[in-house]
């Protein structure tokens, strides 16, 4: 059965974010979920499904953030519960499946971590000795390899990516809770940021964030009785190419975004022309470029022209990552995108609200992406205000 416009995001959970010392990862999950339930106007007893994004190994002697602990501390005994382990981004699809099967009425999805204050150095854990012996560690290197191949395959590079980093920063400067709210970025600042793993600079990398984020999903019928405007899932799709970057041949496209996007657009019955704004998973600047390219916004190598002159910025013709995204607001895996799209469609975004306030179209339909591993999994969600 077509799931178009049958399920909705009805509540959003936020926490303090940025550098927030003396807080466990678990406490951010609990706070985000509790906030999302309250925001939806629900009681904890209404929640009968719980999905947690992966937990990174705990820091400083804290217990691992299992969904059992999360459920216990929120006071839930869910009828269905899961937590993925390796960044496969099926959370929303799973939630819709549980709702569609009649197993649950309200599913909450959460992500939280405390890596900034906890001192996590992403990439220093040996996960595969056949990579570690050659010094291959972390996500930046994998995306650097993809970005390097893309530079060779089509016309891209820092000249394109600077527009993404700087454009998203302008949105963050309008968002009081963004980690980079008070810090502007020029093209010169971008070029002056240090190399991490070349060709990616520090400002091509997403942020490391203490905090949590959550959302509540239910049927459109139930959503109509709740307090916020109804933001429905119009289309959803996923594709998992799965092959590790060291063996992949699609790192310069087509990534999982292509098929995932085709599935979501087919369900929604719309085209790119109907999209008012995008919230694109931005672990790195290049990820934004290749995702939009695979969705069909521009042809390979035409990103440089497409992004220039402020296309994605406040006042631009296709606003992208309007909270600042993971490059400049905060990192919550795919929930940074889903929560911001929902907030925009509900009209709750203050100074950064799409519409007259930012000289952009008042949004009816927003395209969201999520991506995990090194371009190994991709989810597409099209949300609209009913």
């Amino acid at each position: 059965m077509n799931l178009k416009d049958r399920y909705a995001i009805v509540g959003l959970g936020y926490t303090l974010q940025g550098r927030v010392p003396d807080r466990t990862a678990l406490s951010f999950h609990v706070e985000a979920i509790s906030d999302a339930i309250k925001d939806a106007g629900l009681e904890k007893g209404d929640i009968d499904g719980l999905i947690c994004y992966r937990h990174f190994p705990s820091l400083g002697g804290e217990p691992d953030v299992t969904p059992y602990l999360v459920a216990q501390q929120v006071g839930l005994a869910p009828k269905a519960m899961s937590q993925e382990a390796n960044c496969a981004r099926s959370q929303l699809i799973n939630a819709l499946g549980w709702l569609e099967a009649g197993l649950c009425n309200y599913v909450v999805i959460s992500y939280a971590h405390n890596p900034l204050s906890g001192g996590r150095f992403f990439g220093n854990r040996i996960e595969n000795y056949n990579k570690a012996v050659f010094g291959q560690f972390g996500a930046t290197s994998g995306y650097a390899m993809a970005a390097r191949r893309a530079m060779h395959t089509f016309n891209t590079g820092p000249e394109t990516w600077k527009h993404i980093a700087v454009g998203q920063r302008k949105w963050a400067n309008l968002n009081p809770i963004a980690m980079m709210h008070n810090r502007t970025m020029t093209f010169e600042d971008y070029y002056n940021s240090r190399w991490v793993v070349e060709p990616l600079r520090l400002f091509d990398n997403c942020l490391v964030t203490d905090g949590g984020r959550a959302c509540v999903v239910t049927s459109v019928e139930r959503a109509r009785d709740l307090r916020h405007p109804v933001v429905a899932v119009m289309g959803i799709g996923q594709h998992n190419p799965s092959v590790e970057i060291e063996h992949a041949t699609n790192m310069s496209g087509p990534t999982g975004a292509k098929l995932s996007g085709e599935i979501a657009f087919a369900m929604a019955g719309i085209t790119l022309d109907d999209i008012d704004a995008c919230e694109i998973y931005d672990c790195f600047t290049y990820t934004v470029e290749v995702t939009l390219q695979d969705y069909g916004f521009f042809k390979p190598g035409e990103g440089g022209d497409w992004f220039k002159d402020g296309t994605i910025e406040p006042g631009g013709r296709m606003p992208i990552n309007t909270s600042g995204g993971q490059l400049s607001e905060a990192y919550y895996m795919g929930l940074t995108q889903l929560t911001e799209a929902t907030m925009q469609l509900m009209g709750r975004c203050g100074e950064r609200q799409l519409g007259p306030k930012t000289n952009t179209r008042t949004p009816e339909i927003i395209l969201c992406s999520d991506n995990g591993g090194i371009l190994q999994t991709h989810s597409t969600t099209i949300l609209r205000r009913l």
């Binding site: 650097a144 191949r149 793993v197």
Partner: protein, 135 residues
């Protein structure tokens, strides 16, 4: 001199590969049904699911599919080598193999540059296949 970088931890799937490296041989599984030369190793061919497998010695030549230049170390053993290069080598036989590029400055590299294997003996137990541009 103590070797300070991580060493291979051979498992049941890849022990034959690291045993071959000790003799400076690049050994890969080849599917006898469809001919696919595969890496990483597996008990079946991911393309045709045949378990009829041979082991071949690769010639050690290929080209750089892509590469990354590390300007920070994620493991103390690599600190003295910054900036160092990891690269995916597209071997002539087909597999994409992660390794390092040596004997070349990072800014001289480009994708599709032809390279050949050079062996680095880490210790008595392990030799690592690395690659350098073909002059």
């Amino acid at each position: 001199m103590v070797y300070e970088k991580p060493l291979p931890q051979p498992n049941a799937d890849d022990k034959f590969f690291w045993d071959g490296c000790k003799e400076h041989k690049l050994l890969f599984q080849k599917c006898l049904s469809c001919g696919l030369v595969r890496w990483p190793p597996s008990i079946i061919c991911p393309y045709c699911h045949s378990n009829d497998t041979d082991v071949i010695e690769a010639a050690g030549k290929g080209k750089i599919y892509t590469y990354a230049v590390y300007h920070q170390a994620y493991h103390p053993g690599f600190e003295s080598e910054i900036p160092y290069v990891t690269a995916v080598i597209e071997l002539a036989e087909g597999p994409h193999f992660l390794s390092n590029i040596t004997g070349c400055e990072p800014d001289e590299l480009e994708c599709d540059m032809p390279v050949e294997v050079v062996w680095e003996d880490a210790n008595k137990e392990f030799s690592l296949p690395k690659f350098q541009p073909i002059q």
